[in-house]
């Protein structure tokens, strides 16, 4: 009999990808539900065996109170199993499971392994995107700082870059931090002097 799995995810793409992956096996029937105050009701109506939920959603708390479906409390994250490392991986990936019908751990594990892998991959993409953005911003600030130095202190471009590098080394801080602060201070100073100039 296929397992009925309810997916609750903020990321529609990720939920679709996970749904497809799990359906491919043929052992799972996939349902999807939006987060929100009706979540507990959805669970009670659809009676899934397993709920897989994004840990970034506050709605997890609602799932903790569902007793109508399983006689006892739903089992959070393989509680009571002798494999804490597996639960730790899931938490680190940001995904959590509720076992509502006492499905055997060996049947839950491959399903959660797929979810963990997918959440990791999406997180990696997000992290990479954030890193790329940060790098672009750092470049932009370095260019600004160099321009300020070249204009204000009559430095050449290599001189300006070396000056910034030395400053970072002397202060034992990252170049990005030093440059960001330098540009910020310059902008604040020039804003202040503009106001002063306006005064008679």
């Amino acid at each position: 009999m296929p397992l009925k799995i309810l997916l609750i995810d903020t990321d529609a793409d990720r939920a679709r990808a996970l749904g497809e992956k799990l359906s491919e096996s043929g052992f799972a029937e996939i349902l999807r539900a939006p987060a929100g105050p009706d979540l507990a009701e959805t669970v009670e109506r659809t009676r899934p065996d397993l709920v897989i939920i994004d840990m970034a959603l506050p709605d997890r708390d609602a799932l903790e109170d569902i007793r109508a479906v399983s006689a006892a409390h739903p089992i959070v994250m393989f509680a009571g199993s002798d494999d804490p490392a597996f639960a730790e991986e899931a938490i680190a990936a940001g995904v959590c499971s509720y076992n509502l019908s006492g499905v055997a751990l060996q049947d839950v594990k491959p399903i959660m392994a797929s979810a963990i892998a997918l959440f990791r991959r999406y997180r990696r993409v997000e992290d990479e995107l954030a890193a790329a953005k940060a790098m672009l911003e750092e470049r932009r600030l370095i260019e600004r700082a160099k321009a300020i130095l070249m204009q204000g202190r009559k430095m050449t471009e290599p001189e300006a870059y070396r000056w910034l590098q030395k400053k970072a080394m002397d202060e034992n801080r990252k170049l990005a931090q030093v440059v960001a602060e330098f540009v910020e201070r310059h902008d604040a100073d020039s804003a202040a002097s503009r106001t002063e100039r306006k005064r008679p």
């Binding site: 929100g36 105050p37 959603l57 997890r60 708390d61 609602a62 799932l63 994250m77 009571g80 639960a87």
Partner: protein, 406 residues
């Protein structure tokens, strides 16, 4: 190579690390202040604060060692201790974070109806609400099954003969979503911590008809739960953390600092809400007499009798197994001895007893403490019942079936 370890790096590696989980709530203030003002750093601690979206995340991350400590509702700490909702993890509560601050906030129409009924029939607020609940089927939101909110709301409604599940439906709604759920009519009211009642009022979605103190004056609210293993491995770090928190609790309790605290908490990485909504519930804010208390009246002292009150209410509503010895459990988790050990060398007063009768005082009273007595505020329950910790007897058959088998 071996002699090349820079002194700075060596010192840094030696600094004990402490990861603390918290939620977007006003009573996270002392922990945020201790971190932002460098009080933890002054004690040689390297602290990382992690803001979580759910109590479930707090519980799981404590249970699996992702957090060393958390700002928590005490009933949930007991649930984690016993493994009642997921993996078990031994926890200690060596410090209480706050008192009061919860609001019972209703949709404007239900609040209006309650008010009118009360005025017409000469009923108290809770009696009037009870009459409304009997007249129509109603859904109210709480934040977690193992929350102070669930216990306080049930206690209050029960004084007017309302039983949750029978006369009113309680659903779990995260506080940040409760305002929207109230506005769209999915729930008719909620019991949640500050600042969410005020946020609902400002959004025109709700009206607060009662607060923690209308149910239990000076009701204990959040506590600091620490993983017992972490505390055993680094007792000095724990002492340092409690001292840093005490400084922060005093700061946050001072009405003069309210605006400053509100601005700090409103930052996007913490509560991410209007600072004015936060300010209202802080000591010195516009609803301060009904809001959070952080220090006054030995608020930070972890009274075992208060832990036991939570446990006995959990039992009353079937949230904890009959076989658990509640008094022993309160004793194991609540650790006033650790509190005293941390604050006594600073000359800070701490109560000398671990237990007191809860709800026995209509007016401020002095409790025995060293080096000098402390004045505690009135602590009456709404029904006038006094909770005597000595009246809680151990279970007839001491089988710990609430624990996971392994």
């Amino acid at each position: 190579m071996s002699d090349g370890v820079p002194l700075l790096a060596a010192r840094k590696a030696a600094a004990p690390r402490m990861r603390i989980g918290l939620l977007r709530l006003t009573d996270s203030a002392p922990v945020i202040a201790a971190h932002e003002f460098g009080f933890f750093a002054d004690e040689g601690l390297e602290v990382e604060l992690v803001v979580e979206p759910s109590w479930a995340n707090i519980a799981d991350k404590l249970a699996f060692g992702f957090f060393d400590a958390a700002v928590i509702v005490p009933p949930l700490a007991f649930a984690v201790q016993l493994g009642m909702r997921g993996a078990a993890q031994p926890l200690l509560i060596p410090y209480a974070i706050s008192a009061g601050g919860n609001t019972i906030t209703l949709s404007r129409s239900l609040a209006q109806e309650t008010k009118e009924r009360g005025a017409r029939d000469g009923l108290s607020t809770v009696e009037a609400l009870a009459a409304c609940l009997r007249a129509q089927s109603t859904t109210l939101g709480i934040v977690h099954a193992y929350s102070t909110h669930n216990l306080l709301l049930r206690y209050w409604l029960a004084t007017a003969g309302i039983e949750a599940g029978r006369d009113v439906r309680l659903v779990v709604v995260p506080p940040a979503s409760a305002v929207e759920a109230l506005a769209t009519g999915q729930i008719a009211g909620f019991c949640a911590g500050a600042p969410w009642g005020e946020v609902a009022r400002r959004a025109g979605a709700g009206t607060t008809i009662a607060t923690s103190r209308d149910i239990w004056r000076n009701a204990p609210e959040k506590a600091l739960a620490v993983r017992a293993r972490w505390a055993e491995e680094q007792p000095d770090a724990l002492t340092g953390a409690l001292r840093a928190l005490l400084r922060a609790s005093k700061f946050c309790d001072d009405p003069e600092n309210a605006a400053y605290t509100a601005a700090l908490l409103s930052r996007r990485k913490y509560l991410d809400v209007d600072p004015h909504a936060i300010l209202a519930g802080l000591p010195g804010g516009t609803t301060a007499d009904k809001g959070c208390v952080f220090f006054r009246g030995a608020t930070t002292f972890p009274w075992r009798s208060q832990g036991l009150w939570f446990l006995s209410e959990m039992r009353r509503w079937g949230l904890i197994d009959e076989s658990v010895d509640l008094r022993k459990l309160a004793e194991r988790v609540y650790r006033p001895d650790l509190y005293r050990a941390a604050v006594a060398p600073l000359g800070e007063p701490a109560p000398t007893l671990d237990w007191k009768r809860e709800g026995a005082h209509d007016a401020p009273w002095a409790v025995e403490a060293a080096p000098e007595p402390i004045v505690l505020p009135a602590d009456r329950f709404c029904d006038g019942v006094v909770f005597d910790p000595d009246a809680i007897s151990p279970p007839a058959k001491p089988i710990m079936s609430g624990l996971p088998h392994n």
